[in-house]
């Protein structure tokens, strides 16, 4: 055994600059979420379906040679064929075009009412949660009372008063729809406000506005996007329901709810008239639900698989 001394040891690979260098590219929050979302097969398929449907809703009616309300008495109740891909309805209107016109209406209503509800709810909920005090007290009492009122009943009545139409539908759905997101955002903001990093920012004398923009919003935006994605199917559901009971869109315009309603009348003799609208409604719902689940996991990996 020889002696160990310093000369026998050579420092091989220590370089300060090498240790400090970053091996992987740094990912922002959204890049990271996007990476996780892509890995989640179900969610990615959901996203693809939605993009596909949105594109079809925009372009399919333009590219078809049939108008969505033009009737063809020789093709009444036609079954699917090369001329009419999904067949025709009771007055000989092409179902393929009607399905995608309906998609335009249903998707627009779903998206707009969900976004409006989310925005109104977030602003009110955020103010209540952040500033608290008397405003919060009053708002919470009001919301407690409003929350007790069955929202669908109010929506139905408002629809009766306003009449049929896309704008009326969106307005009717937003009158009570913001309450849920308001409660949710208030709770989140209230929780964040108590956290140390917000406290630190406050102590440093940063104005409230900057704290909200820089600290509070980035921390809840992920959850907000997820909730938004979950709220869209709910809104599409509601539209379909209202159209179904005769309150949504005025004929000859169509939405998925109206197509389902018209189709169900001929269920026994012409089942293809209900099957295809039903298929598109259900796959859209499924896609949005899968995407919502995937987004929730992507923006907040802690919650993965618990719900």
């Amino acid at each position: 055994m020889g002696e160990y001394n310093k000369e026998k040891f050579v420092i091989k690979g220590k370089s300060i600059s090498g240790m400090e260098s970053i091996h992987r590219p740094s990912l922002s929050f959204w890049q990271d979420a996007w990476r996780r979302l892509r890995k989640n097969k179900a969610a990615f398929i959901g996203l693809c379906i939605i993009v596909l449907y949105a594109l079809l809703a925009i372009f399919a009616p333009m590219l078809s040679r049939y108008g969505f309300s033009s009737m063809d008495t020789s093709a009444m109740h036609a079954t699917p064929s090369a001329a009419h891909w999904l067949g025709c309805d009771a007055t000989g209107r092409d179902q393929w075009v009607r399905v995608w016109m309906g998609a335009r209406v249903s998707l627009t209503i779903g998206l707009f009412s969900a976004v409006i509800n989310m925005c109104v709810g977030s602003v009110l909920g955020g103010l209540c949660g952040y500033y608290g005090g008397r405003l919060d007290m009053i708002m919470m009492r009001v919301i407690d009372i409003l929350y007790g009122i069955p929202s669908l009943i109010i929506t139905i009545l408002v629809m009766i008063v306003l009449g049929k139409g896309v704008t009326c539908l969106i307005v009717a759905m937003c009158i009570v729809g913001w309450i849920g997101s308001c409660r949710f955002v208030r709770g989140e903001v209230y929780r964040l406000k108590e956290q140390d990093f917000v406290m630190a920012a406050k102590v440093l004398g940063i104005p409230d506005f900057i704290i909200i923009v820089r600290h509070i919003i980035p921390n809840i935006i992920g959850l907000l996007v997820t909730n938004l994605c979950m709220a869209i199917p709910g809104a599409i559901f509601q539209e379909a329901f209202l159209s179904y009971i005769g309150l949504g869109i005025a004929p000859p315009n169509c939405s998925w709810g109206i197509l389902a309603k018209e189709g169900i009348q001929y269920l026994r003799i012409h089942p293809h008239e209900i099957i295809w609208p039903a298929f598109f409604i259900c796959t859209t719902m499924l896609a949005l639900n899968l995407l919502g689940d995937g987004l929730r996991d992507a923006v907040d990996p802690k919650l993965r698989g618990t719900e």
């Binding site: 069955p150 139905i156 389902a260 039903a278 618990t306």
Partner: protein, 306 residues
């Protein structure tokens, strides 16, 4: 506890008053009136209006309406001559209630079982199947579910009656269609809450005591996991109730939902008003009961830690 109950009752009453007020004034804002569609001379229409009290000031009408409601009188129908709203509710509500209760029992029992099975087999095939059922269930609107069930079981295979509501075999399809959506939301909440409970210390304690798996799940896990399910009972009842609107018209069941939709299409003010207020009272009462039960089950709620 008493303070909590009183607080909930007051909030519920305020909600109800608010609802009645909103409904009353909204109904008055509705376009068209029930007397224009009938071939009536002006004098007759005016007579009818004064008969129903529409010529009096709005606030007086409102006060009268509140007074009548207080005595349990929901008003008259204007379309079905000489029928009170009370009479129609009395005729039709039993059907809806029967259907609703069947659907609720079905949804809650199957939902809980599905949730428990999924949580017990977390990450395995069985869990995947349960979650898949849940996610598919939330994607199918109940009117489509109703139509699909009706088509396959009633028309194509001829196993069950297609419509009407005359006996047990008539109830199966509508109750299933109504229950399916609710079932899936119950199972999702149950699964999540089971998975949360399983990480708690008392489960570890139970396990280290050497209790059997079955006993742990039955005695400790399920009992604790079931409280969050109660919170969604309010929305669940509401969902089942609105579901009856469409399911009843698909299956031709003479229930209240069918009448409600009809009176909307007929502009029958008094019916809409009466039935809406009835639905509102019903739902507010259900929510109140759920809230109070929740307070009983979970003491943390009572002292306001929410």
């Amino acid at each position: 506890m008493a303070k909590y109950v009183v607080k909930r009752v007051i909030a519920a009453l305020l909600s109800l008053l608010c609802l009645i007020t909103i409904v009353f004034f909204l109904v008055r804002l509705m376009p068209g009136d029930p007397f224009t569609s009938v071939k009536l001379t002006k004098e007759v229409a005016a007579n009818m209006k004064s008969y129903y009290g529409f010529d009096k000031p709005l606030l007086l009408q409102y006060a009268t309406y509140l007074g009548n409601l207080f005595q349990g009188n929901f008003g008259y129908s204007m379309k079905y001559t000489n029928k009170t709203v009370n009479y129609i509710i009395g005729q039709t509500f039993p059907f809806s209630a029967d259907l609703g209760i069947r659907a609720l029992v079905l949804a809650i029992s199957f939902g809980l079982v599905l949730g428990i099975i999924a949580a017990r087999n977390r990450g395995k095939k069985l869990d995947f199947i349960c979650v898949l059922i849940a996610i598919i269930g939330t994607s199918i609107p109940d009117f489509i579910m109703g139509a699909v069930l009706q088509y396959f079981f009633g028309i194509k295979w001829g196993l069950l009656p297609v419509a009407k509501y005359l006996g047990f075999e008539y109830t199966i399809l509508p109750a299933t269609a109504l229950a399916f959506y609710t079932l899936t939301s119950v199972s999702r909440v149950m699964r999540a809450s089971m998975l949360e409970v399983v990480q708690q210390d008392y489960i570890k304690t139970a396990r280290s005591k050497g209790l059997t798996d079955f006993r742990i799940t039955w005695k400790h896990q399920i009992r604790n996991a079931i409280t969050p399910v109660m919170t969604i009972m309010g929305p669940t009842v509401a969902a089942v109730l609105t579901g009856t609107f469409v399911i009843e018209s698909i299956f031709a069941i003479p229930g209240m939902g069918k009448y409600y939709v009809e009176s909307i299409n007929n502009n029958d003010y008094a019916m809409i008003l009466g039935m809406t207020v009835f639905y509102g009272m019903f739902l507010v009462t259900c929510n109140l009961i759920v809230d109070i039960l929740y307070g009983v089950a979970d003491p943390r709620v009572r002292i306001g830690k929410r």
